[in-house]
Each structure stands twice: as C-alpha cells, then as structure tokens.
C-alpha cells in the first residue's frame, strides 16, 4: 500500500488545486475531483483547507463529500474495476459474472485485494446496455463480458 502523504503536504497540494479551480461557478465538485485525482482519494485533511478557501463550513464540505459515492475516503487499489449491476446487464447474467469475478479476485464489492492490486465496485449503468454485461477497468470500457474476458481482466490486474 502506498503511504498516505503527510498533512502539510496535503494542505499545500490541495491549496494549489483550489487556486486553479476556485474561480469557477460552484467550484466544489471540480475541486474534489481534482483532489481525488491528485491523491487517489479525498483526504480528510483536505476538507478544512477547502472550507477555508471557499468560505463555507467544514460541515458543508463533509456533507458534500459523503453524499457522492465517487469520493473515496481511502486510496483504492492500483486498478479499479467497476462491474455494471444494472438491469440491462442483469438480463445478460451480470449476477453470475459478479459471482465469478468475486471468486477469482477473492474480494467482494467495495473491497480492495490484500495485495492492493484491485478494488472491485458495482456500478449502475455504463451506458453499454446494448453490449451487456459490461465493466470498466481503470476508465476503459469492456462489453459482452464472458469467461474469457474475465480471465483477461484478472490477468491484467494481477500483472
């Protein structure tokens, strides 16, 4: 697992992101996206810095961060695999796909493999409903999942 940066470092890197984005109208989500991109998660220590810069309360920032499922409180694994679990994929057997993948990776949804290789998450629709079942690995889309593709995915995240 990667070491989490020290709080002063978080503060200064956060401040730089805020500086770049605070001129936007409604800058909080873009800032949080920027922070997550920078650190791989939204560190708790970044929240007061944002609150101070945007002149809102720490409570408000906390309320926003915890509302959106995208924002992680802890770093994810080296790879993030999102498996669609919505209806179109269900109709094409996404349940079985999920079960198989969980077994192959040895983790459940919202979990990270012990070696930090991969975090598995459910996602509700990737807009690939005519190519179900689908998944997204590190931002790249994969459709018509089958056993063969699952094996490829597992090999890739383990490599």
């Amino acid at each position: 697992m990667t070491m989490q940066p020290a709080s002063t470092e978080i503060t200064s890197r956060t401040a730089a992101i805020i500086q770049e984005l605070k001129g936007l109208e409604g800058p909080l989500l873009p800032i949080l996206h920027g922070i997550q991109e920078e650190f791989g998660h939204v560190p708790q220590d970044a929240l007061p810095v944002i609150a101070e810069a945007l002149n809102i309360s720490k409570a408000e920032v906390h309320g926003v961060v915890t509302f959106y499922h995208d924002y992680r409180s802890h770093p994810a694994g080296r790879h993030v695999l999102k498996l669609c679990q919505a209806e179109a994929c269900q109709s094409m057997g996404s349940d079985a796909i999920a079960a198989k993948l969980k077994q192959l990776l040895g983790i459940g949804f919202h979990e990270t493999a012990r070696d930090g290789s991969v975090t598995l998450e459910p996602v509700y629709c990737l807009g690939l409903c005519a190519c179900a079942p689908s998944a997204m690995l590190d931002g790249e889309v994969i459709g018509r999942l089958d056993d063969e593709k699952l094996d490829e995915i597992v090999a890739e995240v383990r490599s």
Binding site: N55, K58, A59, E60, H62, T66
Partner: protein
C-alpha cells in the same frame, strides 16, 4: 399558569402586501401572497400534520406528512412548499391523504426506538404527537430490519448505530432517535448562520453530523441552541430536561446578558428552572438565542452564590454573616457617620447596568434623595458614555436610532469597533442572514473578527486600522464622500444646518483628512478607505453599527460624532434600514443611562442644573436636590485616594475588574471606610468591601430592561429570591433604614413613578407592556406605540448638527519599550467580567484569557502558541498564554478580560475620553515577552483575594 404555547405556523410569514383568498376544507382564509398552504391553514385554525416544517426556517418538504389535495391539480403536493393561489380549493384530509400519512409514519416508526415512556421528550415529541394525529396503529415492517436504533442486530454489531454524543455541556445528540428532518441543520444555517451541521451520507445512511463527523464540542457549533429548539424529537435534548423532566409552566422574561435583550420563556417545573427557550414573539430576538442566554443560567444556583448579608470591620477580617436588619442598620449608620464626619459629598453609589430599570432608578433616587448629592455613576461610564454625548450633540438623543428589524432593509452594513458575533450574537445572526441575502459589509476593526469572514459572509471592505485612529479613518471616509460629491444634498438641506455642513465639509476636505494621509498613520490601504466610502454613500440604505471599539478611546466621543456626521451626510437617518446604532454591552446599559445614573443627569437625560426638572423631583421626593453634577467613578476613586470620599454603595458591578488601571481602583477602594457591595457573588470589588448585601438574579424579580434598540422589555419573576429579597427591596430597605419614606409594593409602582416624571416614558406601565409585549421609548402621547425608528421627520434636537472632528492622537504611544498596541474585547461564551459565565459550563469554551499575537510578532520574540507570556505596559504587568493568529495585524495584540486571574485591566492605562472620561481600554502600548510564571502582582492579588473571601464559620453553639 401553564406553559406558554406558541403556535407553529410551519413556514415563515410572508411579507407581501398583496392578499390572497382561498378555501381550506370549506373555510375561507385570506393571507398575504407567498404564504404556504400550511401556514394559511393554520391561520384558519386547521393544523396540517407535519414534522420537517417549523416556522423558524424555510419550507423543506421532506417529511411528506403535510401533503394535501388541491382541486384541479394532480397529485398530492406538500402544503409547506406550495404557495397559496387565489381561489384555490384545498383539502387537508382525504382518504388518500390518510393512507399516505399513515404509511409515512409507519416508515418513521420502523426506524425509531419505542422507549417513549422513558424518553426525555415524552410529552414534548412531535413524532409522538403526529403518530397520534395520523392514527398509526401498527408497524407491519417489524423491528428486525435495517435500523439506526439498536447497537446490535441479532447479536451482530450494527454499524449504522451511533453512540450518543454528550460532549456539549448543555445538550445531547442521540443519533438513534433522529428522523433526519434536517430541522437542526437548517436552523444552524438559516437562523444562526454558523453552518456547523450537515447531513452526512445519503439515503438510509443519512445522519446529522456536527462538523466533519465530529463531536459537537469539537465542531464549529457555537451552542446557540437553535438546533435543539428545532428538533422535533429527543435527538437533540437539553441535559436539564433529561435530568429534571418536562416543564409544566413557563414565564416570559428577558435575558440578563448582552444588550440585545432577548425574550425567553423560562420553563419551570415547580420552582426549578428546566430550560430557557427563546420566545418567538420577542421582537429583539424573534425566537433565537445564544449560548449565554439559552444555557448559561447555572450561576443562579451556583454554590458560590452568597445568600446571607455579611459585614466586617476591616477588609483583612473574615466575613461575618448577619441578619438583613443588622447589615442594613450597620450600613445606614456608617453612611450617616461618614457624611457627618467628612461631609455630604463623601459618599456615593454606582448603579448597575445588569439590574432592572426600577432598581437603577431606586439607587440613583437613594443617592439624590437620601445621600443628598449627585455622586452616582454607572458602568456605562466605562462603555457607552461617549454615545450619550456624541449622539446627544449631533442628533439630540442618547440612543440608537433603529430597531433590530431595521437590518432586514439595510443594503450596506458598516460595523465599526464592534464584534457582534461574539458580543451580540443573536443580532449578529440576524445581520448575517441579511448579508447572505446580498447586503454589503464594511468593517472597521483592528482584528479580523468573525463577521469579516466566516462561512457565507465576507466583508467587501475590511479596514484593519491601528487602534486609536478611528477618528482619522471615519473622517477620511467623510473626506471621500465630500470631495467626490457623494453626499445627499437634499437630505442635508432639509434636515440639517447647511452652513454647519459646509463648515464641516470644508474641514473634512482638507488634505490631511484624505485617505492617502490617514491611510499612512492608520496603516490602512487608502484605496480600501475610498472603496468603503463609495460603497457606503452609494450602495442604498446604509446602517452603521458600532461598539466599544469606538467609545473606549480618548477620542471616543469624537468618533461617535464622526459617525453621526457620516450618517447625516449620506442621508442615512430617519427610515428603516439606515441609522446609527450603538451595540450596547450589558443588558441594561441603555436603561441605566435612561434612569439618571450619571452624576450630571436626572432620568431622561435631563441636566441636574435645570430648575424645572429638579422641581419635578423635589416636589415628589420632598427634598432639595443638588444642582451641581456629582462625581464620576474615576473622580470618586481619585477623591478616595485624596481622602475626601469614604463610602460607596455598589450595586451589581465589579469595578475592580472592569474598570481600567486596577491598581488605582484598588487603592481608591482601600482608602474608603465603608464599601457596600450588593451582588450575587463575592466579586473582585468585594475584596475591598465592608458590607456584602446578597443580590438576586433576573429570574427572581420583576422589572424591566431596556435593550440597545430602546426596547423596554419585561423581566418577570419566575422563582422566589434565594437570598430572600429582590434587589429593589434591598435598596428600599436601606433607604427606609436611612429614614426615607419609601413604600413601593411592587416594581410596577416604581415604573409608574418613572413614567410620571420622565416624558419619554410617559405612557409606559406594566399593564401597557403586558398588552404590547414591549415598547421602544419615547413612548408617550406623541408616540403611543413607542418609537422603533427615531428622527423620522426631523432630528430630536431640531436640525442635525455637523461637528468638526479633529483627530488628536492618544497620548498612549508605542515606543522602544512598549512597541505593541494592546486592544481588548469579549468572546462569545463569556460575558463581561465573567462573574456569571465563569460559574457555568461555558468555561468549556473559554477557560482562560489568551493573548492573541500575530505570527511575525511572536516569531520576533521566540514565542510559540500556548507559551506563557508576560504582558507589560506603563501601568502594570500580567501573564497569560499566547494564541498565535493572523486575526490581529502585526503590531497589535488582543486579549479578553473575562478572567480575574489575568486582570487585563492591570495593563490598561488611566487615559480616557476627553468628554466623558470613558476609559481608553482599547489602546495600550505594551511589550510582550516570554514568561515563566504569574507576575508578582498576580501572586499578591491572588493571596489578597483568597484572604478577603474568608467567611467565619458559625460557632457550634449557635
């Protein structure tokens, strides 16, 4: 009696003048446009079920109990969020609505504990009430499902369950009882303006979170209590209610803390105070409160409260408890002896800004009628005496021009030398609400106070001026307005003396008053001064609020005049949204000034030299009154040191701690032969007293307080005085013992005498106050309903008077020995000398006075945050711990004065306002250095204080 029940209309009132008529369940009701269906129904007496709606906050529409059906419209809209429309036909109770409501309630209760019988809110729980209202009979989901109620589900840890947060000393947060209505979150945002609460997570996991999932005490919460008041369940509960139970009767009274004068319901069980709940009909606070008024009443039953009279020969003796009769006889004899021995003017008294108008009136009457001199003064001397002088000279009255509601119409707020979020928090919340809605803000203050920048509030201009330069900077604002032609000529020509204006204008236009010159000496960017001036002159309704940062200077009166000039020049007097408004420090500063507490004025600000005025009292009181002004507090102390002043009656004030130059005060008191302290506690002044008369709290007596907006509010007795006598009774007994023919049966009779003798109070009586709730003076034949806004059609003095405001720098200067400027002030959780608040759990927020110092100044001295430092001035020295912050500018340090062991006033000098002697607390040249312990003076003081507080234990034989 019973509980004072206030109707909750569910949503705030609409201010529209247009009326709309609709039908609710067959009844016709007419309400202002913009009113919600819920409120309109309530006006018609039809209570629609609700949980998330309350009229203190805007409609939210989350609970879904208040749904209604409207003819011609689809669906079941929520009545709280749907405004009325002309001719609308609303049904609040149909089969469909019943089913939905019962269904919603079934869901609520499926995630709520069923411990109603042992719940603190039992009997005062809206969830319980509404469950009854909708006829819930069964929860078919069972209780084994997902929940926030049980610590364990089937033996397994329930991670959704959260432990009760008891970190706040006054209330608890029990997440297991939360119905996520967001009322607390919204109250914190909309009413208080702190934004300390949020909902964290989403969906079923949504929970109320203080700060970032912190304990309340660690969050941004300021403990104002708005959330507790808003909570419909036991989720947020006063600890006192948990301990005692639900109150059974209540009395509306007025808070005894700051000058906002909030109305509260004192909710009682028998003679035990259960809680103080802000009263929505209170016109000063409109249902809001702060941590002091809401919660910090515990001092009234604190174990250190003195309940028996005490006397002693010498201040080095221990106290001896005596009967009231002995104490009063002793006092009367001593005063008479001293007068016989040293002359009529050798004694005097100090009235209290914390006691009622009636009590204050009696003390000054005792002095004038009984002592036969004018040696009466009050603590307003040390805070707002320059307001009286400055506004009296320019406008003709010694008071603020507006009511608090006026802020709602203000476009530009200018705050000078005031820290409203700490010192006047409830008004600050109203101010912040207006600022969030778009009003602009200008702040003149050496410190970056919270109002300058805090969540959702940011001043357009903050002028962090050097302490002592108010006159120069305010005059520079005028310079810009005059030289740039931004003044309101029509207003000035109509309301003021044009020649005087021109004279003043030519003065302020001088180059030495320009922002460029003044900016140099005040350490302020000239462009900021120009920007602020332009904004104030052109931004719409401009209102100035100021505090002790204006008055407590050697040129305090001059600054008040400069402020009045600025308001007149911009036409900002005499209508809603504008004006000049001193923020009064103590609950009854205004009242104590009104009641003739000054040595030169009889009640109603009438000079003692006026024969006609003296006639009124002479004929009523049957004595000849002195036509020469008496001694002010500092003069009394000087005279005492000189040996000509020997006896003092001090009611409810702690001059040793609150007055400047503590050593001089101590010397003066030590030189007297009979110092009588009438107070709740053995305060610092009592260390030098010979007689101690126990006082009563505001809960124990009837009377009135007059707040900063001149509002006369009733103080009502909610319990019997623990010491046996209300303060007015003590003063009356002392007067009787001294041979005066007083015979008041009730404070209302005192008010009747005030009304009879004081034109501005002519129509005031307890009966009238009962009817009106409260009134603002002047209240007389000309203004039967009182006067919310003054100088509407002309200034009280006739023409508004422009007066030149020459800037004269204070004699207190920095130099190599004392390179920093100390300024002092308050903090939210503590009040004044702290005698009350230090005896409550408010100490959790502020247990010591700290010295705020800028990082640069700290670094130069090798100081770290929390270090003990020695603070030295020409007057004295003390030690306290440093707090490193950039809220103060480099070169400026700041501390509060709430704790006697710090004694900030050992440091302050005896410089004072040229006109009124108001001490210059706000500017003291000091040096700060590392320290390894308390100063010698502190050690001596501590020992002396401990010795002088000894009370002789009663003999076993007695």
């Amino acid at each position: 009696m019973g509980l004072v029940q206030e109707i909750d209309y569910g949503t705030p009132a609409s201010t529209s003048e247009k009326q709309v008529t609709l039908t609710v369940d067959g009844f016709t009701v007419t309400v202002p446009e913009g009113t919600s269906i819920m409120r309109a129904s309530m006006e018609a007496g039809i209570a629609i079920p609700k949980l998330c709606a309350t009229d203190m906050v805007d409609a939210f529409g989350s609970c879904r109990l208040c749904l209604v059906e409207i003819d011609g419209r689809n669906g079941t809209p929520s009545s709280c969020t749907t405004p009325v429309a002309p001719g609308m036909v609303v049904h609040t109770q149909t089969g469909r609505l019943k089913d939905i409501r019962r269904g919603v309630m079934e869901l609520y209760i499926s995630d709520h504990p069923l411990d109603c019988l042992t719940c603190a809110a039992n009997g005062d729980c809206e969830l319980q009430t509404q469950a009854g209202v909708v006829g819930l009979r069964d929860v078919r989901y069972g209780y084994e499902g997902d929940n926030h109620v049980f610590k364990k589900n089937d033996g397994a840890e329930n991670f959704k369950w959260m432990a009760k947060d008891e970190s706040n000393p006054y209330f608890t947060y029990d997440p297991s009882k939360c119905i996520v209505c967001s009322r607390c979150v919204r109250a914190c945002e909309e009413v208080q303006g702190t934004f300390a609460l949020t909902i964290e997570g989403r969906g079923f996991e949504s929970r109320v979170s203080p700060g970032m999932h912190q304990l309340f005490i660690d969050s941004e919460c300021v403990s104002c209590g708005a959330c507790v008041q808003a909570c419909p369940t036991a989720t947020l509960s006063e600890k006192s209610v948990i301990k005692i139970g639900q109150p059974e009767h209540s009395v509306v009274t007025t808070c005894a803390y700051c000058g906002v004068g909030c109305s509260f319901k004192a909710e009682m069980r028998g003679d035990e105070l259960v809680r103080m709940v802000p009263y929505k009909d209170g016109k000063a606070n409109r249902g809001h409160s702060c941590v002091k008024g809401r919660f910090a009443y515990g001092y009234s039953t604190h174990k250190e409260r003195i309940l028996n009279p005490m006397i002693r020969e010498k201040v080095t003796d221990p106290w001896r408890e005596v009967s009231w009769e002995e104490a009063l006889t002793h006092t009367a004899n001593e005063f008479r002896r001293i007068q016989y021995q040293y002359g009529r003017t050798s004694i005097g008294g100090i009235t209290s800004s914390r006691c009622t108008n009636e009590e204050t009136y009696l003390v000054q009457k005792l002095i004038r009628q009984g002592f036969r001199n004018n040696n009466v003064d009050t603590c307003a001397r040390v805070c707002h005496s320059p307001t009286g002088y400055g506004l009296g000279q320019t406008f003709g009255t010694s008071a603020g021009t507006q009511d608090f509601d006026s802020i709602e119409k203000t476009d530009v707020v200018m705050i000078i030398g005031a820290n409203p979020t700490d010192a006047h928090p409830v008004f600050a919340s109203r101010m912040k609400k207006r600022l969030r809605k778009g009003a602009k803000l200008i702040v003149l203050d050496p410190r970056r106070t919270d109002i300058v920048r805090s969540a959702h509030i940011e001043a357009q201009h903050h002028l962090p001026l050097k302490p002592g330069t108010n006159v120069a900077v305010v005059t520079a604002l005028a310079h810009v307005i005059v030289t740039e032609g931004l003044f309101d000529e029509a207003f000035i020509r109509e309301r003021c003396d044009w020649d005087e204006f021109q004279d003043w204008a030519s003065f302020v236009a001088l180059p030495e008053n320009s922002p460029e010159v003044v900016g140099q000496l005040a350490n302020v960017d000239p462009e900021e001064i120009r920007g602020a001036a332009r904004l104030f002159a052109t931004g719409g309704n401009g209102a100035i609020y100021y505090g002790l940062g204006v008055t407590e200077h050697s040129q305090g009166s001059t600054t008040v005049i400069a402020i009045a000039n600025l308001a007149m020049a911009t036409g900002n007097v005499g209508r809603p949204g504008v004006g000049v408004n001193p923020l009064r420090g103590q609950n009854n500063v205004q009242g104590s000034c009104d009641m003739g507490s000054f040595p030169h004025e009889l009640p109603g600000y009438r000079h003692v030299s006026g024969d006609a005025v003296r006639d009124i009292y002479e004929s009523l009181w049957g004595v000849k009154l002195d036509d020469e002004p008496g001694l002010r507090i500092p003069n009394m102390l000087d005279a005492a040191v000189d040996g000509s002043f020997k006896g003092l009656y001090v009611q409810g004030e702690d001059i040793l701690q609150s007055d400047p130059d503590t050593k001089h005060v101590a010397a003066g008191l030590a030189a007297m032969e009979c110092v009588v302290v009438h107070d709740l506690f053995l305060n610092e002044t009592a260390n030098y007293a010979h007689v101690f008369l126990p006082g009563s709290t505001f809960l124990e007596k009837d009377g009135t307080f007059t707040n900063a907006e001149r509002r006369i509010n009733r103080v009502r007795k909610v319990m019997a005085p623990t010491n046996g006598l209300a303060d007015w009774e003590v003063t009356q007994k002392l007067a009787q013992t001294m041979g005066l023919d007083w015979n008041y049966q009730h404070p209302s009779e005192i008010m009747d005498e005030i009304a009879k003798t004081t034109p501005s109070f002519a129509s005031v009586s307890y009966d009238y106050l009962e009817k009106m709730g409260s009134v603002q003076w002047p209240c007389n034949e000309k203004a039967p309903e009182g006067t919310p806004i003054m100088h509407i059609s002309g200034f009280v003095r006739g023409k508004g008077k422009f007066i030149r405001t020459e800037y004269v720098a204070t004699d207190e200067r920095t130099g190599p020995r004392f390179p920093l400027l100390l300024t002092t002030g308050r903090i939210l959780s503590q009040y004044n000398v702290g005698a009350q608040t230090r005896r409550t759990d408010n100490v959790m927020w502020h247990s010591e006075d700290r010295l705020e110092i800028h990082p640069h100044d700290a670094e130069n001295r090798g100081l770290r945050d929390g270090d003990w430092v020695r603070l030295t001035s020409r007057s004295g020295e003390t030690t306290l711990r440093a707090l490193i912050t950039d809220k103060v500018s480099p070169g400026v340090v700041y501390t509060t004065f709430h704790h006697p062991d710090t004694q900030a006033n050992v440091i302050t000098t005896d410089f004072s306002d040229w006109a009124t002697n108001c001490p210059e607390y706000k500017v003291t040249a000091v040096q700060v250095g590392a320290s390894n312990g308390p100063s010698e003076w502190q050690l001596d003081y501590d020992e002396q204080a401990r010795n002088s507080r000894r009370i002789a234990t009663l003999e076993a034989a007695e």
